[in-house]
Amino acid sequence: MRMKHFPALFLLLNSIAGVILGTSTAAFLAWLGFLIGWIYLRFYKLQPDLSTTSTGGPGLRGDASETFAFASFFPDVMQPPIAVVGDQIYLLLVAVRLCTPFSAEAVASGNEQAAARSESGLPSLLNGGGRSNRGMGKREEAERRRALALKALDQRLNAATASKAQQPAAPVVQQGQSMLGETSYDPDHEARGEDRV
């Protein structure tokens, strides 16, 4: 009995009781409360930003982690149809520009926070925007994070070399690289050896 099934279970019990016992008001309020709370947490709540190096500040708006997708609150058998419906509603809202799609960094950072919260590995999912698409595993998640970290390193190195470009002995950019000391990480060809990193 996983903790994540509790909200769905509560909704179900309330709905059944609403029909049978006539406590329909409670059922309404339960569903409404669930929706409102989910929408708030998903889109509007300011989350602390863990992935970037900025200190303080309100950080991100909304929780982009895919584990918080609407369909993931319901048991697995019901998730695909709910995901489809949710996707359509989401695309519609984005087209009307009522909600903005999430950037990849937001998704990654949301995932990091979710992973940090639960100490176990979470199944990371492909599509951003909080809708789920069954896909990658934990290894891909780790590699994606590594790529992000390398990108940050690259930018810092670039800034460092740009400040050193004033010196007379300018190092030559080697072949096969666009900037000095570029690190490249190619997860698909990792089997060839680690010396490229």
């Binding site: 339960a30 409360g33 669930f34 709370g37 947490l41 300011l46 919260r117």
Partner: protein, 152 residues
């Protein structure tokens, strides 16, 4: 229940509000019932306390009930359940989010569903011309704490 555990401030306030309002509500109901039982045979369900709970007919005269009704519980079992949800959920969430965020969240979840449901019920009673109902709910609030428990 050990009272010595450390309860964060907003959770403390909410728990006290819950217990206090429920107590007041039941007190008022008791007194109303006492007054009624001598006159006619109206059932307890029609006893309404419009200044604590949300009664759609007259709710606009008592606007604070949109917030207070979520914290009124009619019987001891739902009171215990709501109390436990607030207690455990609040302990975790208030530490995770900070008091202000948590307070905002609870207020949003307590008030917003009521504001949506009340006009619907008013319309409904207008159409059906049936009796009005009193709404006493922590249900949606429970939902939200459960929802965020999932995040933990």
């Amino acid at each position: 229940m050990p009272i010595r555990t450390n309860i964060p401030p907003v959770t403390r306030i909410l728990l006290l509000v819950l217990i206090g309002l429920s107590f007041l509500y039941n007190l008022a109901r008791w007194k109303l019932l006492d007054g009624i039982s001598q006159t006619d045979h109206s059932s307890p369900a029609t006893v309404r306390v419009p200044y604590l709970t949300l009664v759609p007919d007259v709710c606009l005269y008592y606007p604070w009930t949109f917030a207070t009704t979520t914290f009124v519980e009619r019987n001891i079992f739902t009171l215990l359940i709501s109390g436990a949800t607030l207690f455990y959920g609040g302990k975790y969430l208030e530490r995770a989010w900070g008091s202000k965020e948590f307070g905002l969240f609870v207020i949003l979840v307590a008030v917003a569903p009521n504001m949506i449901v009340a006009p619907i019920y008013m319309l409904w009673t207008g159409i059906m011309a049936s009796g009005s109902k009193a709404c006493v709910f922590e249900a949606s609030s429970l939902r939200l704490s459960l929802l965020t428990q999932f995040l933990s």
